[in-house]
Protein backbone atom coordinates (compact mmCIF):
# COMPACT_ATOMS: atom_id res chain seq x y z
CA UNK A 1 0.00 0.00 0.00
CA UNK A 2 2.72 2.41 0.98
CA UNK A 3 4.91 1.58 -1.96
CA UNK A 4 1.95 1.94 -4.24
CA UNK A 5 1.20 5.36 -2.77
CA UNK A 6 4.72 6.49 -3.41
CA UNK A 7 4.63 5.43 -7.00
CA UNK A 8 1.32 7.10 -7.71
CA UNK A 9 2.43 10.11 -5.79
CA UNK A 10 5.46 10.43 -8.01
CA UNK A 11 3.10 10.25 -10.94
CA UNK A 12 1.03 13.09 -9.51
CA UNK A 13 4.17 15.03 -8.80
CA UNK A 14 5.39 14.70 -12.34
CA UNK A 15 2.00 15.36 -13.82
CA UNK A 16 1.27 11.82 -14.92
CA UNK A 17 -2.50 11.69 -15.39
CA UNK A 18 -4.41 8.55 -14.35
CA UNK A 19 -4.75 7.93 -10.64
CA UNK A 20 -7.71 6.83 -8.52
CA UNK A 21 -8.74 8.39 -5.22
CA UNK A 22 -8.67 5.55 -2.70
CA UNK A 23 -7.03 7.20 0.29
CA UNK A 24 -3.54 7.94 -0.92
CA UNK A 25 -4.29 11.40 -2.21
CA UNK A 26 -3.97 12.88 1.28
CA UNK A 27 -0.63 11.21 1.87
CA UNK A 28 0.49 12.43 -1.45
CA UNK A 29 -0.26 16.02 -0.56
CA UNK A 30 1.80 15.75 2.59
CA UNK A 31 4.64 14.18 0.67
CA UNK A 32 4.62 16.93 -1.86
CA UNK A 33 4.66 19.56 0.90
CA UNK A 34 7.55 17.77 2.57
CA UNK A 35 9.39 17.57 -0.69
CA UNK A 36 8.97 21.29 -1.25
CA UNK A 37 10.22 22.11 2.22
CA UNK A 38 13.18 19.81 1.69
CA UNK A 39 14.10 21.47 -1.59
CA UNK A 40 13.74 24.90 0.01
CA UNK A 41 16.01 23.98 2.94
CA UNK A 42 18.61 22.50 0.64
CA UNK A 43 18.59 25.55 -1.57
CA UNK A 44 18.89 28.08 1.25
CA UNK A 45 22.68 27.98 1.83
CA UNK A 46 23.27 28.10 -1.92
CA UNK A 47 20.99 31.07 -2.27
CA UNK A 48 22.71 33.00 0.53
CA UNK A 49 26.10 32.26 -0.97
CA UNK A 50 24.95 33.51 -4.37
CA UNK A 51 23.50 36.59 -2.74
CA UNK A 52 26.72 37.31 -0.87
CA UNK A 53 28.70 36.94 -4.09
CA UNK A 54 26.50 39.41 -5.88
CA UNK A 55 27.03 42.14 -3.32
CA UNK A 56 29.16 44.93 -4.80
CA UNK A 57 32.93 44.73 -4.38
CA UNK A 58 33.67 48.42 -4.74
CA UNK A 59 37.33 48.18 -3.79
CA UNK A 60 38.02 46.49 -7.12
CA UNK A 61 37.45 49.62 -9.15
CA UNK A 62 39.90 52.21 -7.93
CA UNK A 63 39.10 54.86 -10.51
CA UNK A 64 36.87 57.34 -8.70
CA UNK A 65 33.25 57.23 -9.84
CA UNK A 66 29.84 57.75 -8.23
CA UNK A 67 28.50 54.76 -6.31
CA UNK A 68 25.62 54.09 -8.70
CA UNK A 69 27.95 54.06 -11.71
CA UNK A 70 30.39 51.82 -9.90
CA UNK A 71 27.69 49.33 -9.00
CA UNK A 72 26.64 48.97 -12.65
CA UNK A 73 30.26 48.67 -13.80
CA UNK A 74 30.92 45.97 -11.23
CA UNK A 75 27.76 44.00 -11.94
CA UNK A 76 27.78 44.27 -15.72
CA UNK A 77 31.36 44.91 -16.88
CA UNK A 78 34.01 44.12 -14.29
CA UNK A 79 34.12 40.34 -14.63
CA UNK A 80 35.45 40.52 -18.20
CA UNK A 81 37.56 43.63 -17.73
CA UNK A 82 40.06 43.09 -14.94
CA UNK A 83 43.59 41.68 -14.51
CA UNK A 84 42.35 38.09 -14.33
CA UNK A 85 40.52 38.18 -17.67
CA UNK A 86 41.97 35.74 -20.19
CA UNK A 87 40.77 37.52 -23.32
CA UNK A 88 43.67 39.86 -24.05
CA UNK A 89 41.58 42.02 -26.35
CA UNK A 90 39.00 42.64 -23.66
CA UNK A 91 41.71 43.52 -21.18
CA UNK A 92 43.49 45.80 -23.65
CA UNK A 93 40.25 47.62 -24.38
CA UNK A 94 39.35 48.21 -20.75
CA UNK A 95 40.95 47.05 -17.49
CA UNK A 96 39.41 48.38 -14.29
CA UNK A 97 42.46 47.34 -12.26
CA UNK A 98 44.77 49.68 -14.17
CA UNK A 99 42.40 52.39 -15.36
CA UNK A 100 43.42 54.88 -12.68
CA UNK A 101 47.13 54.45 -13.47
CA UNK A 102 46.83 55.27 -17.16
CA UNK A 103 47.82 58.62 -18.62
CA UNK A 104 45.19 61.13 -19.57
CA UNK A 105 45.26 60.25 -23.28
CA UNK A 106 44.76 56.54 -22.65
CA UNK A 107 41.96 57.25 -20.18
CA UNK A 108 40.21 59.49 -22.67
CA UNK A 109 40.57 56.80 -25.32
CA UNK A 110 39.06 54.19 -23.00
CA UNK A 111 36.14 56.47 -22.16
CA UNK A 112 35.52 57.23 -25.80
CA UNK A 113 35.40 53.49 -26.51
CA UNK A 114 33.13 52.76 -23.55
CA UNK A 115 30.67 55.34 -24.83
CA UNK A 116 30.81 53.94 -28.36
CA UNK A 117 30.40 50.33 -27.29
CA UNK A 118 27.42 51.12 -25.10
CA UNK A 119 25.74 53.33 -27.69
CA UNK A 120 26.18 50.59 -30.27
CA UNK A 121 24.73 48.11 -27.78
CA UNK A 122 27.90 46.07 -28.24
CA UNK A 123 28.74 45.60 -24.54
CA UNK A 124 28.28 43.22 -22.85
CA UNK A 125 28.89 41.22 -26.06
CA UNK A 126 25.74 40.12 -27.93
CA UNK A 127 26.59 36.43 -27.69
CA UNK A 128 26.95 36.68 -23.93
CA UNK A 129 23.69 38.56 -23.54
CA UNK A 130 21.82 36.04 -25.68
CA UNK A 131 23.04 33.30 -23.37
CA UNK A 132 22.51 35.29 -20.15
CA UNK A 133 19.76 37.84 -20.81
CA UNK A 134 20.14 39.28 -17.30
CA UNK A 135 23.66 40.42 -18.16
CA UNK A 136 22.32 43.08 -20.52
CA UNK A 137 22.39 46.73 -19.56
CA UNK A 138 18.94 48.20 -18.98
CA UNK A 139 18.19 51.46 -20.77
CA UNK A 140 18.62 53.35 -17.48
CA UNK A 141 21.97 51.72 -16.77
CA UNK A 142 23.23 52.43 -20.29
CA UNK A 143 22.17 56.08 -19.99
CA UNK A 144 23.79 56.36 -16.57
CA UNK A 145 27.13 55.01 -17.82
CA UNK A 146 27.15 57.11 -20.99
CA UNK A 147 26.29 60.28 -19.06
CA UNK A 148 29.07 59.66 -16.58
CA UNK A 149 31.63 58.79 -19.25
CA UNK A 150 30.81 61.97 -21.16
CA UNK A 151 31.08 64.14 -18.06
CA UNK A 152 34.26 62.45 -16.92
CA UNK A 153 36.01 62.86 -20.29
CA UNK A 154 35.00 66.50 -20.57
CA UNK A 155 36.43 67.08 -17.09
CA UNK A 156 39.65 65.23 -17.96
CA UNK A 157 40.06 67.27 -21.11
CA UNK A 158 39.84 70.50 -19.12
CA UNK A 159 42.37 69.44 -16.49
Amino acid sequence: MHALNKITCWEVFTGAPNYSSDGWAFNCEIMIKQAHLFVLLMALPGATAAFAQEAPKPEKITYPMPGQVKTVMINKCYDCHYDGERDEEAKAGLNFNTLDQLGKIKQLAVFSNIQKEIEKGAMPPKKFVTKYPKAALTKEEADLLVEWVKKESAALLKQ
Binding site: I105, K106, A109, S112, K158
Partner: protein
Protein backbone atom coordinates in the same frame (compact mmCIF):
# COMPACT_ATOMS: atom_id res chain seq x y z
CA UNK B 1 27.82 14.44 -71.89
CA UNK B 2 30.06 16.89 -73.74
CA UNK B 3 27.00 18.90 -74.59
CA UNK B 4 25.95 19.10 -70.97
CA UNK B 5 29.40 20.27 -69.93
CA UNK B 6 29.44 22.90 -72.63
CA UNK B 7 25.97 24.04 -71.64
CA UNK B 8 27.00 24.19 -67.99
CA UNK B 9 30.06 26.21 -68.90
CA UNK B 10 28.01 28.63 -70.91
CA UNK B 11 25.59 29.00 -68.04
CA UNK B 12 28.42 29.82 -65.63
CA UNK B 13 29.78 32.45 -67.98
CA UNK B 14 26.29 33.91 -68.35
CA UNK B 15 25.84 34.07 -64.58
CA UNK B 16 29.24 35.70 -64.19
CA UNK B 17 28.40 38.27 -66.84
CA UNK B 18 25.00 38.93 -65.31
CA UNK B 19 26.65 39.48 -61.94
CA UNK B 20 28.62 42.33 -63.44
CA UNK B 21 25.44 44.35 -63.79
CA UNK B 22 25.12 44.48 -60.03
CA UNK B 23 27.89 46.89 -59.17
CA UNK B 24 27.97 48.36 -55.69
CA UNK B 25 28.08 52.13 -55.48
CA UNK B 26 31.60 53.47 -55.91
CA UNK B 27 33.33 55.10 -53.00
CA UNK B 28 34.61 58.17 -54.80
CA UNK B 29 33.63 61.31 -52.92
CA UNK B 30 35.13 64.78 -53.00
CA UNK B 31 37.87 65.64 -50.55
CA UNK B 32 36.42 68.32 -48.27
CA UNK B 33 37.71 70.50 -45.46
CA UNK B 34 36.69 67.76 -43.02
CA UNK B 35 39.48 65.46 -44.27
CA UNK B 36 42.19 64.59 -41.76
CA UNK B 37 44.86 66.16 -43.99
CA UNK B 38 42.99 69.47 -43.99
CA UNK B 39 42.34 69.33 -40.26
CA UNK B 40 45.93 68.99 -39.17
CA UNK B 41 49.47 68.90 -40.56
CA UNK B 42 50.29 65.27 -41.32
CA UNK B 43 53.96 64.65 -42.21
CA UNK B 44 54.44 63.38 -45.80
CA UNK B 45 55.85 60.04 -44.63
CA UNK B 46 52.79 59.36 -42.48
CA UNK B 47 50.48 60.49 -45.28
CA UNK B 48 52.13 58.05 -47.64
CA UNK B 49 51.64 55.25 -45.12
CA UNK B 50 47.99 56.09 -44.52
CA UNK B 51 47.36 56.43 -48.27
CA UNK B 52 48.98 53.11 -49.05
CA UNK B 53 47.62 51.10 -46.16
CA UNK B 54 44.41 52.63 -44.80
CA UNK B 55 42.64 55.17 -47.00
CA UNK B 56 41.06 52.68 -49.41
CA UNK B 57 38.81 51.40 -46.62
CA UNK B 58 38.76 54.34 -44.23
CA UNK B 59 37.94 57.34 -46.39
CA UNK B 60 35.44 58.45 -49.03
CA UNK B 61 38.16 58.16 -51.68
CA UNK B 62 39.02 54.60 -52.66
CA UNK B 63 41.72 54.07 -55.28
CA UNK B 64 40.23 51.34 -57.43
CA UNK B 65 42.25 48.90 -59.51
CA UNK B 66 40.74 47.32 -62.61
CA UNK B 67 39.96 44.00 -60.91
CA UNK B 68 38.00 45.80 -58.20
CA UNK B 69 35.30 46.25 -60.82
CA UNK B 70 34.75 42.51 -61.15
CA UNK B 71 31.77 41.21 -59.27
CA UNK B 72 32.58 39.19 -56.18
CA UNK B 73 35.74 41.26 -55.69
CA UNK B 74 33.72 44.46 -56.00
CA UNK B 75 31.14 43.19 -53.51
CA UNK B 76 33.73 42.09 -50.99
CA UNK B 77 35.58 45.37 -51.22
CA UNK B 78 32.40 47.37 -50.91
CA UNK B 79 31.60 45.46 -47.73
CA UNK B 80 35.05 46.24 -46.28
CA UNK B 81 34.68 49.90 -47.15
CA UNK B 82 31.25 50.20 -45.57
CA UNK B 83 32.34 48.50 -42.37
CA UNK B 84 35.69 50.25 -42.28
CA UNK B 85 34.13 53.69 -42.66
CA UNK B 86 31.65 52.96 -39.91
CA UNK B 87 34.53 52.59 -37.48
CA UNK B 88 36.83 55.24 -38.87
CA UNK B 89 36.48 57.69 -41.75
CA UNK B 90 39.42 60.01 -42.34
CA UNK B 91 37.34 62.03 -44.82
CA UNK B 92 34.99 63.05 -42.02
CA UNK B 93 37.60 63.58 -39.35
CA UNK B 94 36.41 67.15 -38.86
CA UNK B 95 33.05 66.05 -37.50
CA UNK B 96 34.60 64.12 -34.61
CA UNK B 97 34.87 65.48 -31.07
CA UNK B 98 38.33 65.89 -29.58
CA UNK B 99 37.67 62.93 -27.32
CA UNK B 100 36.66 60.67 -30.20
CA UNK B 101 39.72 61.75 -32.18
CA UNK B 102 41.97 60.85 -29.29
CA UNK B 103 40.14 57.53 -28.94
CA UNK B 104 40.36 56.60 -32.61
CA UNK B 105 44.01 57.59 -32.79
CA UNK B 106 44.66 55.28 -29.86
CA UNK B 107 42.76 52.49 -31.64
CA UNK B 108 44.78 53.05 -34.83
CA UNK B 109 47.98 52.70 -32.89
CA UNK B 110 46.72 49.56 -31.19
CA UNK B 111 45.36 47.89 -34.34
CA UNK B 112 48.54 48.53 -36.33
CA UNK B 113 50.82 47.34 -33.51
CA UNK B 114 48.74 44.17 -33.14
CA UNK B 115 49.00 43.66 -36.88
CA UNK B 116 45.21 43.65 -37.16
CA UNK B 117 45.21 46.59 -39.59
CA UNK B 118 45.46 46.80 -42.52
CA UNK B 119 43.35 43.69 -43.07
CA UNK B 120 45.42 40.65 -44.06
CA UNK B 121 43.46 40.17 -47.29
CA UNK B 122 44.43 43.69 -48.26
CA UNK B 123 48.15 43.61 -47.49
CA UNK B 124 48.30 40.24 -49.21
CA UNK B 125 47.51 41.95 -52.50
CA UNK B 126 48.91 45.42 -51.80
CA UNK B 127 52.59 45.03 -51.02
CA UNK B 128 53.03 48.70 -50.23
CA UNK B 129 50.45 48.30 -47.45
CA UNK B 130 52.73 45.98 -45.48
CA UNK B 131 54.15 48.19 -42.77
CA UNK B 132 57.66 47.70 -41.44
CA UNK B 133 58.39 47.99 -37.73
CA UNK B 134 60.01 51.35 -38.38
CA UNK B 135 56.88 52.54 -40.19
CA UNK B 136 54.64 51.35 -37.38
CA UNK B 137 56.86 53.17 -34.89
CA UNK B 138 56.77 56.41 -36.86
CA UNK B 139 52.99 56.18 -37.14
CA UNK B 140 52.72 55.62 -33.40
CA UNK B 141 55.03 58.55 -32.75
CA UNK B 142 53.01 60.89 -34.94
CA UNK B 143 49.82 59.69 -33.23
CA UNK B 144 51.22 60.42 -29.77
CA UNK B 145 52.36 63.85 -30.90
CA UNK B 146 48.97 64.65 -32.45
CA UNK B 147 47.09 63.41 -29.38
CA UNK B 148 49.15 65.61 -27.09
CA UNK B 149 48.48 68.55 -29.37
CA UNK B 150 44.75 67.84 -29.12
CA UNK B 151 44.95 68.02 -25.34
CA UNK B 152 46.58 71.44 -25.26
CA UNK B 153 43.98 73.88 -26.51
CA UNK B 154 40.83 73.31 -24.51
CA UNK B 155 38.60 73.70 -27.48
CA UNK B 156 35.25 72.78 -25.97
Amino acid sequence: MKKILRLGGLLLVAVFLAMQFFQPERNSGEVTAAHLYRQTQVPPGVQRMLNNACMDCHSNQTNYDWYHRLALVSWLISQHITEGKQELNFSEWGSLSVIDRIGLLEDMSGEVKRGAMPLKSYSFIHHEARLSTAQVDSLAEWIRHYQEGLLLPVSE
